[in-house]
């Protein structure tokens, strides 16, 4: 299996009870680490896996749980941010002739 330069190949094994173990099983060119650094690298990647209570919340629950506050009308600054566009001058023929 080709491993890109500067990359490692990681295998994560999850058993039938959900216990998981991650392991670096291959190094690409220019990616050699000491065994200790391999462990640190894995810790960086997966160390906080169990910490986030709300993981997944943004995918399915965010919209449902979000409190929607109605937007206040801009009473005092009605034209703020609105580009001023000159209305095209309208010529009305009043029948006097020119």
């Amino acid at each position: 299996m080709h491993i890109p330069e500067g990359h490692v190949l990681i295998e994560v094994t999850i058993d039938e009870n959900g216990n998981y173990k991650e392991e670096i099983v291959g190094h690409g060119a220019n990616s050699s680490c000491t065994t200790e650094d391999d462990d640190k690298l894995l810790q960086d990647l997966f160390g906080d896996l169990g910490e986030d209570d709300d993981w997944g919340k943004t995918e399915e629950f965010y919209d449902k749980t979000r409190v929607k506050t109605p937007q206040k009308p801009h009473i005092n600054t009605p034209f703020k941010d609105t580009p001023v566009v000159a209305e095209e001058e309208k010529r009305v023929d009043l029948g006097f002739g020119v």
């Binding site: 299996m1 491993i3 890109p4 500067g6 990359h7 490692v8 190949l9 990681i10 295998e11 994560v12 094994t13 999850i14 058993d15 039938e16 009870n17 959900g18 216990n19 998981y20 991650e22 099983v25 190094h27 690409g28 220019n30 990616s31 050699s32 680490c33 000491t34 650094d37 391999d38 640190k40 690298l41 960086d44 990647l45 997966f46 896996l49 169990g50 910490e51 986030d52 209570d53 709300d54 993981w55 997944g56 919340k57 995918e59 399915e60 629950f61 749980t65």
Partner: protein
């Protein structure tokens, strides 16, 4: 007769992921799952007696007096509650569950771990190479860039 089993989930996650995990085990459960973000649901035993805890997710069994029982729950149902340390726990009557779902706590744990690992990998820009079953275990292969601080410099 109910066969109550309880088990703790190892990884923390949202209700949405738990629901998806249950549906991945028995797709028919999708229309029977009841969820409550305040965790105030009751779970009933086979004689209609309430379990003592309150639940965030319930799949009703035949003991539930007000709901239709989901397939696989002969007597009592399934409930997911939150423990004091913030982790999830599952109470389930496994007596009528299909064989592939008997170890339901392990299955949910497995699903959550796999999804979390894959999501984490995606967020870090790692490339997923494979996600396969081998000898009853799930194996996920990915490539990840090595931070220069970890490289051996010649």
């Amino acid at each position: 007769m109910s066969q109550w089993r309880s088990g703790k989930l190892q990884l923390k996650c949202s209700l949405g992921i738990l629901k998806r995990a249950l549906i991945s085990i028995v797709p028919e459960w999708e229309k029977y799952i009841i969820e409550d973000e305040l965790g105030l649901l009751d779970l009933y035993g086979y004689q209609g007696n309430k379990k003592g805890d309150k639940y965030y997710i319930v799949i009703p069994g035949k003991g539930d007096p007000s709901r239709v029982a989901a397939p696989g729950f002969n007597y009592s149902g399934l409930g997911i509650r939150k423990q004091r340390d913030g982790s999830w726990a599952i109470d389930v009557d496994s007596s009528g569950l299909p064989s592939h779902a008997k170890n339901i706590v392990g299955k949910v744990n497995n699903f959550v771990a796999a999804e979390k690992i894959k999501k984490k990998a995606a967020l870090q820009g790692n490339q997923l190479i494979a996600d396969k079953m081998e000898g009853g275990k799930r194996k996920i292969l990915m490539t990840a860039p090595v931070d220069p601080k970890y490289k051996i410099h010649a």
